[in-house]
């Protein structure tokens, strides 16, 4: 019987090892095997039962090995079997589905991102317009306009919604695409192309003339207070041509503005935080506060407070401050500042704890008063690391400020969310590039400055 003890493992994993004197090994095998069985039973697809079965077989082999040869079997097989089943279940739980990756959709997003919307060729506008009465009244004025050597006219002089009008213009640039669009009396633009959802674009002829048949847009009177009142609407003819050089596009200007706001947010937050963190750090420095039970209690309380505060991400704080002060950069500044107070307070306190007491003693010995001791023995020791840590924090805050924008904290992050919502991927890629440039530049700059200080 005793020579066959290993066979017990065939009935209960680990039993053979346990009775063979390897109690921990036997217990561990049983426990881990049971955990695996429970996991597979709870989540499993039947195929994964292979893993506990393999381990069960291995366990018999291991018990046999131990008893007959006095050696343990390699752990490679059970580890592989166990880990692969855990990974497989992880795959299932996280709902990884490679079929959902739609290449066409991905391309729709990525392709525009290759052309970031940051600058555009500088253009000049050549514009002409003519007024037309909608709806008609008696004796309408002639739909005719003459301006800077250009003429434009419409026939008939007045029309109702949906009626056809012939517009023509002369004196524009020749052979140039011309956008033709409608403007209501209150300034609403309306498109005149197919389905009124596309811009009507036609080229001028060799003489700079153009005529087109349009319909009065169905929505031309939607916002009119009294649709029966005849009011002048306008038809515009716009031509653009490059004049050489480049200029910031609309998105480009917004991105730069957002970047400025983000950097300023980080700067405000860092300065605000360091103003608070400096006095707090003195309370959190053990060497300054350890002398007396009361001061030590303050030290302990402040340290605990800083640690708790530091553990709350500034993103979470931003969500709270958005509720308190509303959307915008100020919420972001407060969130960053609060988190930075905790982070800087701890860093400053660590600096204070590491200062050399020797110079303090030496300056006291010269007959200096308390303020002079601080000025000549403490500050020279802490100023460089304090500045270095503050710059480092600013660097971190710029990165955080970008993220905080996403939840309504203003700056470039907020712009990013807006661009994603309207599916403006060219703008999104301009934001990405700008963020990368700022982060890299600041990283290099802060590293340089810190190098010189420390």
């Amino acid at each position: 019987m005793s020579e066959r003890k290993w066979l017990l493992s065939a009935f209960l994993p680990g039993a053979g090892q346990f009775l063979g004197g390897r109690r921990y090994r036997g217990g561990a095998i049983l426990l881990l095997w049971l955990i695996l069985v429970v996991i597979v039973a709870a989540y499993g697809q039947p195929i994964w039962w292979i893993s506990p079965i393999l381990i069960w077989l291995w366990n018999i082999w291991d018990a046999f090995h131990l008893q007959r040869l006095g050696r343990e079997a390699s752990l490679f097989l059970p580890l592989l079997a166990g880990l692969s089943v855990l990974y497989g279940i992880g795959w299932q739980i996280t709902q990884i589905d490679l079929r959902s990756a739609d290449m066409r959709r991905a391309l729709q997003i990525v392709r525009p991102m290759l052309r970031p919307d940051f600058v555009q060729p500088r253009r000049e506008l050549n514009q002409m317009w003519v007024e037309i009465l909608v709806p008609c009244k008696e004796n309408p004025p002639r739909a005719f306009n003459k301006l800077d050597g250009k003429t434009a006219m419409a026939t008939p002089d007045c029309a109702r919604v949906g009626e056809v009008v012939i517009v023509s213009v002369q004196g524009l640039w020749p052979n140039t695409d011309t956008q033709i669009w409608w403007q209501t009396p209150i300034g609403d633009p309306k498109m005149l192309g197919p389905n009124e959802s596309q811009m009507l674009i036609l080229p001028t002829d060799d003489n700079g003339a153009l005529s087109a048949t349009i319909r009065v847009p169905t929505t031309a009177l939607v916002a009119a207070p009294d649709p029966s009142l005849a009011l002048p609407h306008r038809v515009y003819f716009d031509q653009y041509r490059n004049v050489g050089g480049w200029e910031l596009s609309f998105n480009g200007r917004e991105v730069l503005k957002g970047a400025g706001v983000t950097i300023a947010m980080a700067l405000m937050a860092t300065v605000l935080a360091s103003l608070f963190a400096i006095p707090i750090s003195f309370l959190a420095a053990r060497n300054l506060m350890g002398g007396h039970p009361v001061t030590f209690a303050i030290y302990f309380a402040v340290r605990t407070f800083l640690n708790v505060l530091r553990s709350i991400e500034s993103l979470i704080l931003a969500l709270i401050f958005v509720v308190i002060v509303g959307l915008g950069p100020f919420a972001g500044v407060l969130a960053l500042a609060l988190h930075s107070i905790a982070a800087l307070g701890k860093l400053y306190a660590d600096v204070l704890e590491s200062i050399d007491p020797g110079p303090i003693e030496a300056i006291r010995a010269t007959g200096a008063n308390w303020a002079q001791v601080v000025r000549y023995a403490v500050i020279p020791q802490i100023i460089s690391p304090f500045v270095a840590f503050t710059i480092y924090r600013w660097d971190i805050n710029v990165r955080s400020a970008t993220i905080i924008g996403l939840v309504g904290g203003g700056g470039i992050g907020y712009l990013l969310v807006e661009l994603i919502r309207i599916n403006d991927m060219r703008g999104v890629s301009a934001v990405f590039i700008t963020i990368a440039v700022i982060v890299i530049a600041l990283d290099v700059l802060s590293a340089r400055i810190r190098e010189r200080l420390v």
Binding site: G358, E361, A362, T366, Q372, R375, Y376, P380, Q381
Partner: protein, 253 residues
């Protein structure tokens, strides 16, 4: 004249650093304090300018009771007492000249000093002090760019700025090699000849014989010897430093 009477220092953790120590130091003396590490030498020196508050006892400096001085009086007294440290205790990140000027803090207008403004006269004095210790050319370097011996000279220059009547030197050469030790102690000897009283703790017996005019020895906070340096022979040395102690000669003297 410095008079120490029944000086006792017990640290909050119960360590008795000094026990009923009394002695007198007439003006112009070069008093060397010897004893093992932890025998109370540093505590004794720091009690004299009250960097450490004595537990009991009195210290009179020209018949003024230092132990009873108000904070303002204490600063007045401290500025006449220069102090030199084993670890130099310079502000390593500051310039040499700033470290030296700091020796003058007890004399100048405190508000201007807080702004870092020093009268031209004081700057000249600082350069002269550096000149005297032979490192005027290092005045505008950072203190930590200097070698150990140079840093200790800055420490001496800082003490010189105080126009001291008394110099306390706490193991001034223990961090330096023996050759440098002499050059540093010679400055103290020179000052001593000009009439400045020096109280200095030292490790090497050779140096004690060479520089001291009088010696006191401490053992576990108790004064165990007071007398002329010549009276310290090997037997006395062993009494002070314990049986196992071997006299380490400062090499190449």
């Amino acid at each position: 004249m410095l008079r120490v009477e029944h000086l006792t220092k017990i640290y909050p953790n119960g360590t008795v650093a000094l026990k009923d120590v009394s002695f007198e130091v007439p003006d112009g003396e070069f008093l060397v304090v010897i004893g093992l590490s932890g025998s109370g030498k540093s505590t004794l020196l720091r009690c004299i300018n009250r960097l450490i508050e004595p537990t009991e006892g009195k210290i009179y400096w020209n018949d003024v009771d230092i132990t009873a001085a108000s904070p303002a009086q204490l600063r007045q007294i401290r500025r006449q007492i220069g102090m030199i440290f084993q670890q130099f205790n310079l502000v390593r990140r500051s310039k040499v000249i700033t470290n030296v000027l700091a020796g003058r803090l007890g004399y100048v207008n405190p508000w201007l000093s807080l702004l870092g403004i020093w009268p031209a006269e004081e700057r000249r004095r600082a350069l002269a002090a550096l000149e005297r210790v032979g490192i005027a050319d290092k005045a505008y370097e950072r203190a930590d760019a200097l070698s150990g011996g140079q840093q200790q000279r800055v420490g001496i220059a800082r003490a010189l700025m105080q126009e001291p009547r008394l110099i306390l030197a706490d193991e001034p050469v223990a961090s330096l090699d023996p050759v440098l030790a002499h050059s540093i102690l010679q400055y103290l000897e020179e000052l001593n000849k000009e009439g400045v009283t020096v109280i200095c703790s030292l490790h090497f017996l050779d140096l004690v014989h060479r520089y001291a005019t009088r010696v006191i020895a401490l053992k576990q906070g108790v004064k165990v010897f007071e007398g002329k340096p010549q009276e310290i022979d090997r037997q006395r040395f062993k009494e002070i430093y314990g049986e196992e102690a071997q006299e380490v000669r400062a090499a190449s003297l």
